[in-house]
């Protein structure tokens, strides 16, 4: 799960990393009050889980509390790449002498943690990596080995940090490594890591992503995830314990197994349609999980047709069919439903659905074709098989 900048900075401060003084505001008035308390020029920064908020106008500098209030009022309510801004971080504006980059992430191919530093900060690090990879110094470290300030100092020097920044930067990067391991992060990044005009090293922006698999041992982040979910449908899916991702199309998709569901989305696209979501009911799903999933899909007003694609290995097709029938009893199925069942107990599953108003599909491509036709209104009626 991604944390907001203000949350990431709170955690970094706990690990001794210097950040600008600041607080989060949910209204323009709060932003003005925070600026007044800080008593200096401030930066007002949109807190949304997308990149490029600066370019989109989601960051502004304000010299006075009044200006901070105005800027916050403009930024709150902005929509950045489809996400509404509901919170701004108001923090002291820092004048930069130099901007660096420090980041830690997982190197999947090397099965290791990689610590990175670059003397070019405040820009998209992937662009730097693509354009001039030699500007990024990297060190691969296992969590068991640990990573000490002296190693971080060498890394910072190798990256070309100014000599007067190396001491504090090394300490902070080593702290960032400790944070990464202890908090089970999959990304911890300071970009830019700033050398200020008055000679301090300071984390001007901060990004942390926590490993979802490790949330069980960090209940404090789990609570944040619930309050912070950006979309009501995703929040509802989370509450129902479903693996759901909202997409931008009109065909609701339910399937078992991540790879199969991804392939189903691709098949829909190949037929000229767009899926409204990714929803994986997982292996061995029982009827109640299927019902739960179908109910969620039906809450989505954009959905014009539903495609259910199940390959029964451990999952039994008759369980899936009973779940669909149970859901159809408890909520009204207002859109056509294409069902493709294959594998364990497919005959029994299909027999159960014979009386129901669903389109039975033969294979994945056939199912996608029928769902796309139904969603675009190309077929007015559908047959029961």
């Amino acid at each position: 799960m991604k944390l907001h900048e203000y949350q990431a900075k709170e955690i970094m401060r706990r690990y001794g990393i210097r950040t600008p003084r600041g607080e989060v505001a949910r209204t323009a008035d709060e932003a003005g009050e925070i600026a007044a308390r800080l008593g200096c020029a401030v930066a007002v920064k949109a807190q949304v889980h997308v990149g490029g908020r600066g370019k989109a106008g989601g960051i502004a500098v304000a010299a006075t509390p009044d200006e901070a209030r105005c800027q916050a009022s403009r930024i709150l309510g902005m929509n950045i790449k489809g996400l509404a801004v509901t919170k701004v971080l108001v923090e002291e504006a820092v004048k930069a002498a130099r901007e660096y980059y420090a980041g830690i992430t997982i190197d999947r191919a090397r099965r290791s943690i990689v610590v990175m530093a670059a003397s070019e900060g405040g820009v998209d690090i992937e662009e730097v990596a693509a354009r001039s990879p030699e500007k990024i110094a990297r060190l691969w470290v296992s969590p068991r080995e640990g990573f000490e300030p002296w190693q971080a100092r060498s890394l910072a020097l190798a990256a070309g940090f100014d000599r007067k920044a190396v001491g504090a930067a090394g300490t902070y990067i080593a702290s960032l490594f400790r944070l990464f391991v202890r908090e089970d992060a999959s990304l911890a990044e300071i970009n830019p890591l700033m050398l200020s005009e008055d000679g301090h090293v300071i984390a001007a922006d901060a990004k942390i992503t926590i490993d979802d698999n490790a949330l069980v041992r960090h209940p404090e982040y789990q609570a944040l995830a619930e309050e912070d979910s950006d979309d009501p449908l995703e929040r509802e899916a989370h509450r129902r314990g479903l693996t759901y991702v909202k997409l931008d199309g009109s065909i609701g998709v339910i399937g078992n197994g991540a790879g199969l569901v991804m392939a189903t989305l691709d098949a829909i696209s190949a037929e000229g349609g767009r899926a409204a979501n990714f929803l994986d009911i997982g292996g061995g799903a029982r009827a109640d999980v299927v019902r739960n999933a179908l109910e969620l899909i039906l809450m989505d007003g954009r959905v014009k047709a539903i495609l259910i694609n199940v390959f029964g290995g451990i999952t039994r097709c008759d369980e899936v069919a009973s779940g669909l029938l149970a859901a159809a009893e408890s909520v009204s199925v207002r859109v056509p439903m294409v069902v493709r069942l294959a594998g364990t107990r497919e005959e029994e599953g299909r027999a159960l659905l014979r009386e129901a108003s669903v389109v039975a599909a033969e294979g994945m491509a056939d199912a996608a074709r029928q769902a796309v036709a139904l969603a675009s209104g190309g077929v007015k009626r559908w047959v029961s098989s």
């Binding site: 997982i106 999947r108 191919a109 099965r111 290791s112 943690i113 992937e126 693509a130 296992s142 969590p143 068991r144 391991v181 089970d184 999959s186 490993d211 979802d212 698999n213 490790a214 069980v216 041992r217 693996t243 991702v245 997409l247 399937g255 078992n256 197994g257 991540a258 790879g259 199969l260 569901v261 991804m262 392939a263 989305l265 691709d266 098949a267 829909i268 696209s269 190949a270 899926a275 990714f278 994986d280 292996g283 390959f311 029964g312 290995g313 451990i314 294959a342 594998g343 364990t344 294979g363 994945m364 491509a365």
Partner: protein, 291 residues
């Protein structure tokens, strides 16, 4: 022959007294796998469907000669269970468990290297593997497989079943099918499996089912170009998945310009590997590769 497991596999099931462990131990036996032992700490001396249960893997190895393990232990303890198996000298440790913290898996593989444990980990978050007609280790549905010349390696479970069913329906049998798992860090990757298939006399062609995220497919493409004489057919799922969203599998995520389907398809094309646009196309491509 086949790869990793076969006639000589003697399997211990870790977590055999749990719901999943018990259920799948029975199914593996039914398929013909030689399930010789189970392990649940504190339940030594018990039997599950006639399979003797031990407190430790070391004891199971000593008493039964177990040489492979299948881990059904919950996520909080699974990495520890896998380490126990490796330390006991088990050669193939198949970790089915989903949801193990990434750093736990990294620590497991790192400890294995540091301590000189020789065994191979498959998974975690994987459906296991089948050497057709010989041994099934994991949770794959046995009846869809038919023995034959095609090796298969995949990051996805149900997509594997889908492809295997299509192949079997066209009379194309399989040697070994391996699900390597959907997590960011896995013990055995595509390249490891391709190398084994290349030297397996029973395998004449390989189907590789990849998905978005990471660069395992790109590494596989480079390996195929440099080292493989046998034909490989690829498929990549998630071509229409949006960046930055985790698509079910923890490892199936496009981050920035890393892990896109385009990059993987391009890498395969550059290595001369045919890429199926849809699942349905795979049997035809395999048939022409086998000619």
């Amino acid at each position: 022959m086949g790869i990793f497991v076969g006639d000589d596999t003697r399997l211990v099931v870790q977590g055999i007294t749990g719901r999943e462990g018990r259920f799948h131990a029975g199914r593996m036996k039914e398929y013909g796998t030689n399930v010789v032992a189970g392990v649940t700490p504190g339940r030594g001396g018990a039997h599950v469907d006639g399979i003797p249960v031990f407190d430790t893997v070391a004891e199971a190895v000593r008493e039964t000669g177990a040489n492979a393990s299948c881990v059904f232990v919950p996520a909080s303890a699974a990495a520890d269970a896998a380490a126990e198996a490796l330390a006991a000298g088990i050669g193939i440790v198949v970790c089915i468990t989903e949801g193990i913290p990434t750093l736990d898996v990294m620590n497991l593989l790192d400890a294995a290297k540091a301590r000189g444990w020789k065994g191979r980990v498959i998974g975690p978050n994987c459906p296991g593997l089948v050497t057709c007609g010989k041994a099934l280790v994991g949770i794959m549905p046995g009846r869809i497989f038919t023995p034959g010349p095609v090796g298969l390696v995949s990051r996805s479970g149900t997509l594997t079943y889908e492809v295997v069913s299509l192949l079997s329906a066209r009379g194309i049998g399989q040697s070994t099918c391996v699900g390597v798992g959907g997590d960011p860090i896995i013990g055995t990757n595509f390249v490891d499996c391709l190398a084994e298939f290349e030297s397996d006399p029973d395998t004449r062609a390989v189907v590789l089912i990849g998905e978005i995220g990471g660069r395992d497919e790109e590494d596989a493409a480079a390996f195929i170009r440099e080292n493989m004489t046998k034909p490989v057919i690829a498929f990549v799922s998630g071509r229409t998945a949006p960046p930055g969203k985790r698509m079910g599998h923890a490892g199936a995520i496009v981050s920035g310009n890393m892990g896109t389907a385009e990059s993987k398809v391009k890498a395969f094309h550059e290595a001369g590997v045919p890429v199926a646009d849809s699942i349905g196309e795979i049997p035809r491509l395999v048939m022409s590769a086998l000619k």
